[in-house]
Amino acid sequence: MLYVSFEKRLRTSFYTRTGYNLLSILIAVVIGGVFLALVDANPFSAYGSIVSEVLMTSYGWEDLLTKMSPLLLTGVAVALAANMRIWNIGAEGQLYFGAVITTWIALNYGSTTSSAVIIPMMMAAAMVAGALWAMIPAILKAQYNVNEIITTLLMNYIAISLVDYFVFGPWRDPKGLNFPITEEFAASANLPTFGDSPVHIGILFGLALIVIIYFVLKKTNIGVQITITGDNPDAGFYSGINIKRLIIIILMVSGAIAGLAGMTEITGVQHRLRQNISLGYGFTGVIIAWLARNHPLGIVFYTFFMAIVFVGGELLQINYGLPKAMIDLFQGMILFCVLGLEIFGAYKLKFKWV
């Protein structure tokens, strides 16, 4: 009889992991095709249209680069906290709160302040807002060890209700035909774009942050503390690292980055506050960080892939009338498949005839 035994690998190489990640994505694409067929959309023409209309056109690439901007930031935000084994499932809420504060500045000072002043001001304010939104779970975690997965997630719903309050209430545009939207921001409050393209510069913030964070983690004292504590919390504790302080710092910085995503999204794409400014980018950040195992290049690579999922999903909404839930379904399947195949990266399979 054939016996299969699992032998634990000491470490999983980057190539092994990447190989299995790509295989998982492929499996998710195949299963996704089955679901497409179940709702009467021909999977071949659906996937074909994503290739031809998203990957082969300049409009498609513009959309991809635009979509990468918030995803890169949430991916970096989640990955940063994950370095210390902290789950920030609240990037979504931090993004929304960042957007609220950005809107407040844009509506009050947009018409009287030049771009050179108001853009940095909004960036700083959105980051402070995101950090404050993350501070509540951070303090609860550091001080009382309250499960941050649940608290960061619940904060999302609070932030989304807060946005609803403003767009249905005090900030509703009187000329907006009763839609729950604020008035359009003044031109000075719009994030610059690359040349004449609609692609805003938000993606540069994400790329810059990846470099900065990589440097901080590798080269600075606090970075080493984060890495040690993440690898082995006991080692961190016994080497005298102030873990409570570190938890608060890392979750707040993570929140700040997610808050910035809120700023780039409404000043770069929407130009006003409305409901559903994020289609779950905070959760996508979790998937990106997981796939990349917090590796900086991996984050960029998988962000690009998830951008295809979003832009492709929006295309299917238009061409096939499919609901946007298709995007959630796909993300769930990708994560399931990646997790399911991880065992082959972590263990070597040994076959033996007995």
Partner: protein, 314 residues
């Protein structure tokens, strides 16, 4: 309506039980799940799958019991993906739970799209003879719909099964000390699969309650994140079905009060009232955690969230 009268309070209590019942089912499901050592963060997604299944079955076959049964079975089947990934394939339970949540939201949204805008007849209330004439309590607890009574039965049943049977003891032992369970010849894998499956059944019924009683229609994300409140309630309930009942009704009260204050025309934005249950959840979770810290004894299953591999130390 003349403000805060006795009638207002009774009506609020009745609504609290109704709003709390889906949370009760879901929390019980979470309790069974986590008692075996497996965390399930995908409760909200499973509830949505259950909700859509119940709605579609009720719409097509007009049978409430068939709808509830189908919701339970479909939700439990989807929960088995989580079991496969984090028990057999040894993946991280937290990540797998998040995948399950997204998958459930996506699945229900995709297949639910054609059903948006249709509606069903809500489950009627049935007064229980004798019991319903108890003053106050009778009206609150025994003039409810059938699913509320079914939830009482499920609380008693899970309580009994978990704490007074051999199977329950074995299940709890796999959550406390899987090495020990394994060494006395129990299959940790079998008990954990069973717990995830039974948890999925209960969570599915919780989801079914939304369209069958509370809304009568289907809309994307019908549960509005209530599943996450259930995740927190499992901790608040100290992994016990009896305390889950108290916790669920407490949150039911917060949700009911939110609606009833709006009816009364209290001058507060509905969007701030919407935040109330989530703020309350964070507060209660914090208090429950602080209580552990002070008492120093946690009722949390000791092996919760840990992957068990025969012959391997975590």
């Amino acid at each position: 309506m003349n403000g805060f009268g006795v009638e207002f309070i009774i009506l609020t209590f009745i609504a609290s039980v109704k709003m709390g019942t889906p949370l009760l089912f879901a929390t019980m499901g979470g309790v069974v799940n986590e008692r075996s050592g497996v965390v399930n963060l995908g409760i909200d997604g499973l509830m949505l799958v259950g909700a859509l299944t119940a709605f579609v079955v009720k719409l097509n076959y007009d049978s409430t019991w068939l709808a509830v049964l189908a919701a339970a079975l479909v939700s439990a089947a989807v929960a088995l993906i989580h079991a496969l990934v984090c028990i057999s394939l040894r993946a991280n339970q937290i990540a797998s739970g998040l995948a399950l949540g997204l998958f459930g939201v996506g699945l229900s949204g995709l297949f639910g799209a054609p059903y948006v805008g249709k509606s069903i007849v809500a489950l009627p209330d049935i007064a229980v003879p004798v019991l319903s004439s108890i003053p106050l309590l009778g009206r609150v607890l025994f003039q409810q719909d059938g699913l509320v009574y079914f939830s009482f039965f499920c609380v008693a049943l899970t309580w009994y099964l978990l704490f007074y049977t051999r199977t329950g003891l074995n299940l709890r032992s796999t959550g406390e000390a899987p090495e020990v369970s394994n060494s006395i010849g129990l299959s940790v894998t079998k008990y954990r699969y069973m717990a995830v499956w039974v948890g999925g059944l209960l969570i599915g019924v919780g989801g079914a309650y939304f369209p069958l009683v509370l809304t009568s229609f289907w809309v994307d994300n019908l549960t509005a994140g209530r599943g996450w409140i259930a995740v927190a309630l499992v901790i608040f309930a100290f992994w016990h079905p009896g305390k889950a009942l108290l916790g669920a009704y407490l949150f039911g009260a917060a949700l009911a009060l939110q609606l009833r204050l709006q009816l009364l025309g209290v001058k507060m934005s509905p969007y701030f009232l919407e935040m109330l249950p989530y703020v309350l959840t964070i507060l209660v979770l914090t208090l429950a955690t602080i209580r552990y810290n002070i008492k120093g004894v946690s009722q949390m299953p000791a092996a919760l969230g840990l992957t068990f591999v025969k012959g391997e130390k975590h």
